[in-house]
């Protein structure tokens, strides 16, 4: 019988000694923190909520804010993105807020819908990587939310049958996944 530490040392050898300190801690069952994640302030969360709601606004169905898609975005950034990428995202968000102050002397959250749209449009051009990241996360968070899946789309928890060719009815919504 070998100890966990022995096993770990062997694992380290197998990985060519490239095992990070954090991984070692994690494998040894200690609480691990893979580098400090970005702490999201209330102001940042509010800003993100409004920006995401500009990506997917309320139309004839509720938008991102109503669906709480920003919670998904914050969670995925915190848990699934390395710190560097988290920082790049929140930097992009700060720049967007700076643009709003510079152009309109107002926080993005206080702008009317038309000006919000203008700011996001500019950001889409000036900071493509951030915009695409933001859009992907918002779209995913929204269409995976209960509101997005059941109101904007149609969700079948248990379809019960499959038909490969049925007429698409006018006004019908796409299926949720």
């Amino acid at each position: 019988m070998i100890s966990r530490r022995d096993a770990l040392q062997r694992l380290t050898l197998l990985l060519g000694g490239a095992l990070s300190a954090q991984l070692t801690a994690g494998v040894l069952g200690q609480v691990i923190n893979l580098g400090p994640s970005v702490l999201v302030s209330a102001a940042q969360q509010k800003l993100l909520t409004e920006v995401a709601d500009t990506i997917i606004p309320t139309t004839d169905t509720p938008g991102s804010k109503a669906a709480g898609a920003e919670q998904f975005i914050i969670r995925v950034l915190r848990d699934c993105y390395v710190l560097e990428d988290q920082e790049a995202f929140y930097d992009g968000l700060s720049k967007l807020e700076d643009d709003s102050h510079r152009l309109h002397n107002q926080s993005f959250a206080d702008l009317d819908a038309a000006r919000r749209h203008e700011i996001v449009k500019q950001t889409a051009i000036s900071n493509k990587a951030f915009f695409h990241n933001l859009r992907t996360l918002t779209v995913t968070g929204y269409f995976c939310s209960e509101i997005g899946a059941t109101k904007a789309l149609e969700y079948l928890p248990i379809p019960g049958r499959f038909e490969g060719d049925v007429p698409f009815k006018p006004g019908q919504k796409a299926w949720a996944l």
Binding site: I32, T54, I56, C80, C144, L156, F162, G164, D165, A174
Partner: protein, 571 residues
């Protein structure tokens, strides 16, 4: 008290021991218990209760945390598993931690090891096809490796036996290269698949497109209702575990059948470290087991042993079962143990866009695709490589995950994504890999895992024959899709590393001659007659079809033989 030791040994003695509880192990347990044997089934993974154990199975999209993504923590702690999609948010608890699953790669090998009762039968792709005599005769015809010791006629009744119980839905085609089976009704095709099928048959006589033959119950027959299974609900959540028991798994199918006999003992958390051997009788006597949690060692005894731990693990176990008689691993007189390591090669094909069909939609989520059986190197067709490939693929209509205009956002984007997108269709080849004696695995005795087992080293790769075949796999797909009327058809080749198809095979091959093979035509170790191996390790060639149905049939066949041999007192 004088009999204490005898009584204790009696308690640890069974008629048969089955190592592993996946597709093969489950079938071995079912067949042997139903034939009257008391069976101990050992599984190194943890217990996974049918239905209640599938924690994510009934979750709605908004009940998942990350829409399937892995956390940075999971990626760091699973540097190998996280390289490909089977390890994801919904299935992560079913796989073994990389830190427990130590192995070394001379060349990249993706080894997907489950950590649960049921093994990969929980997460498997469920595509179920028969091999044909074109496959069983291939090595002999090509003068490659060794000849299969069986032919289609030997296994055909066992395919039927397996299909009737497992429940395979599909369409009969009457093709020599893909024999028909005992099918439940075929699943429906999408509108675009029906269109493509028509055009394909016109443009390419001899090539056929059919719906995938899949171990999902399009309709539950008596055999399945009898073990508590229900029909497929078309949720497309199979790999999360099915609370309806609608696809074949150990838990849904073979385990309840075996348990019903009252003769099955299942022990999870049981790492088999060695098969013990008696030099006087030249038979295996039982197994040594290390408890995965407490690390306590125990020994069990049986008249016969079925090794069904999956190709790599079964082979590693035999390699680790050394004795004076077998210094290089049990049954390894031929030095073939660990050689001829094969997996299907795939991840190449083509896809394209269909114009129109906007008024055609669908209902339900079909967990199945279409299948184009092999047509290369059959009949008069001759290519610059040996063997062939089949295609899996399918049509779909764009969903909210589709790509949109670069700058699109706001109400326009939302409106666009709440409507279905264009129809598209893709074909991906699954190719046969030849057996190469130096594509192999062995044990690194210097490095041991936490249960004290030496770690496996992999040294295998696809070679010229496979690389030539891949060109056809991509180009034929493009040609067929274009002929069928798809636009913007593009080929792709994402590269294929052994292990990625999770069809590991060949490391203890069957054969007629003990000098060149490990197992005989009944999956019996040539030199240790009471040990049978019926997982992927036994395969002599890979064919191009998904192999699990063949393991089911071979296991049932070997179990039948083993029980007959026991009755004749030959074991």
């Amino acid at each position: 008290m004088a009999n204490f030791n005898i009584d204790a040994k009696k308690e640890l003695t069974y008629d048969a021991i089955v190592i592993g509880s996946g597709v093969s192990g489950g079938w071995a347990a079912k067949e042997l218990t139903e034939k009257g044997l008391r069976v101990l089934m050992l599984e190194r993974g943890k217990q996974l209760e049918h239905i209640t154990g599938y924690e994510n199975a009934l979750k709605a999209p908004w009940e998942l945390k990350y829409d399937g993504r892995l956390t940075t923590q999971q990626i760091e702690s699973h540097p190998k598993l996280s390289r490909d999609y089977p390890y994801n948010e919904m299935t992560e608890k079913y796989w073994m931690n990389d830190s427990d699953s130590l192995y070394r790669e001379k060349k990249r090998f993706d080894w997907f090891r489950p950590n649960i009762v049921g093994g990969k039968s929980i997460m498997w792709g469920r595509q179920s096809y028969r091999l044909s005599d074109i496959d069983f005769e291939a090595n002999l015809r090509d003068g490659i490796a060794v000849d299969w010791p069986i032919r289609y006629a030997d296994i055909a009744p066992w395919y039927s036996h397996a299909e009737k119980f497992a429940g395979i839905s599909g369409e009969k085609l009457g093709l020599p290269q893909l024999p028909d089976g005992e099918f439940l009704p075929p699943m429906d095709m999408y509108y675009l698949e029906k269109e493509v099928r028509k055009r394909l048959e016109k443009s390419f006589p001899g090539r056929v497109m059919t719906i995938g033959r899949v171990a999902n119950l399009s309709k539950a027959a008596e055999e399945q209702l009898g073990v508590g299974r229900g029909p497929c609900q078309f949720r497309n959540r199979c790999s999360w575990g099915c609370p309806f028991g609608a696809y074949f798994s150990t838990q849904s199918s073979t385990l309840p059948a075996a348990a019903k006999t009252g003769r099955l003992t299942l022990r999870p958390d049981s790492v088999v470290t060695e098969i013990t051997f008696d030099n006087d009788t030249q038979r295996a006597t039982g197994v040594r087991v290390r408890d995965a949690v407490t690390m306590q060692d125990r020994e069990y005894f049986a008249k016969i042993i079925f090794v069904c731990a999956s190709a790599i693990s079964s082979t590693a176990l035999l390699m680790h079962s050394t004795s004076d008689r077998f210094p290089n691993g049990m049954g390894n007189d031929s030095d073939q143990l660990g050689r001829n390591l094969m997996d299907h090669h795939f991840r190449t094909g083509a896809s394209g866009r269909w114009e129109g069909g906007h008024d055609h939609y669908y209902y339900g989520r079909r967990a199945n695709g279409i299948y184009i059986p092999r047509y290369r190197n059959i009949g008069d067709d001759k290519r610059d490589y040996l063997r062939g490939f089949g295609y899996q693929g399918g049509a779909s209509r764009g969903n909210w995950q589709r790509s949109v205009a670069e700058l699109s956002f706001g109400a326009d984007l939302k409106d666009e994504l709440t409507q279905p997108g264009e129809w598209t269709m893709g074909l991906g080849g699954f190719g046969e890999t030849l057996p190469y004696s130096d594509n192999r695995m062995w044990l690194d005795k210097e490095t041991k895992d936490k249960w004290g087992m030496p770690v496996v080293v992999f040294d295998a790769e696809i070679r010229d024959n496979e690389k030539k075949m891949r060109l056809d796999m991509a180009n034929d797909a493009k040609e067929m899709l274009e002929a069928a009327g798809l636009k913007d058809v593009k080929t792709y080749d994402k590269g294929s590393f052994p292990g990625m198809a999770i069809h590991e095979m060949g490391t203890a091959r069957m054969g007629r001659d003990p000098k060149t093979s490990v197992l005989n035509g009944h999956n019996q170790i040539h030199a240790v007659k009471n040990v049978f191996m019926t997982d992927g390790a036994c395969m002599v060639s890979t064919s191009c079809v998904n192999p699990s149905l063949t393991y089911m049939a071979l296991t049932a066949r070997a179990a039948d033989f083993a029980v007959e041999e026991l009755k004749k007192h030959n074991l």
